[in-house]
Symmetry: C2
Subunit: 201 residues, 2 copies
Amino acid sequence: MSENATAETLNLTKKGMETREKLLRAAEKVFGKKGYYETSIVNITQEAGVGQGTFYNYFQSKKEVFDALIQMYSRELRFKIKEEMKDAENHEDAQRKGFQAFFRWVKDYPELYSIVQQAVVVDKDLYRWYYDKLASGFLKSLSLGVEDGEFKDINLETVAYCLMSIGQFLGMRWVFWEGQDVPEEVFDAAMTLIFNGIKKT
Amino acid sequence: MSENATAETLNLTKKGMETREKLLRAAEKVFGKKGYYETSIVNITQEAGVGQGTFYNYFQSKKEVFDALIQMYSRELRFKIKEEMKDAENHEDAQRKGFQAFFRWVKDYPELYSIVQQAVVVDKDLYRWYYDKLASGFLKSLSLGVEDGEFKDINLETVAYCLMSIGQFLGMRWVFWEGQDVPEEVFDAAMTLIFNGIKKT
């Protein structure tokens, strides 16, 4: 079976890419449901509806498919956020649109939190890489807001981490735990905190 | 061995409590280093320097010691924060003191993040319980600030989640990843964001 599948991969690059994608999406489901440690490669291939040998044409191990998933998440998420921010009226609006894109994306890939959090145990460096990447996206967009005089010139790496963490926890609290959209009043309260603070003036 | 230890527990309550504490601190170390799934009960008893049978006088399983650890963390942390807030000049100062207590506490128990995050996989409900408990502590102290007219009257459960998430990520970024105190300029930037927002006025 492994030989057939190898030939298939060589001859049908487009089909090969589809199979790889199918395996990734299957792994996402199984890792999200059973957790990394309880998941076997057979679980993944069964979910994907492909033979076990096919797996090894695309990934060498369970860990490799896990790494690929986190990298894919990271890329897709940052791309989605960037796209969404393009049409913003100003920098505050851009940040708001970024948060909305993030929450929508969590809704589309509900296993995200579980899988990214699992990296704490599975691979600490990968976990840190994921958040560093996300923070550097925030950092870039915040810098533009400072340059244009819309945002305060305070330690931006910290602001990036604060914004990322707020997105992470509200996404977890509402989308992941409750399976619903982030309520409007919750979104508004978070945006008030970020842009205007909580102190009465 | 198990019988001896049971007798010991019955006769020496104080010593029993010490042994339980020793097992918990040993489990903290081992779970933090190897992760829940790679840890065996023997690893824990060896780290604690007690016989394997002794373990079962205090806990029925590895999972039970994990649960007890998270509950202990939660209790200790919330107590520390509350204590620290007592001497505050105003509500903003109380929140600042709470953050400082939290960061100091993470420094004292550096395995916290890893172990709490592991609950995502080990026990999702326990994970949620931990954050809900922490958020409700924030909620209480924030409510007092609103009552006294110091804080804006916005959705406080959301503000509680935002503050908790900022503490979580900055503690992770600096104390857990870098093994150092949260730098002063980082702390100041986060406090500016929380109390005054990032928008230039």
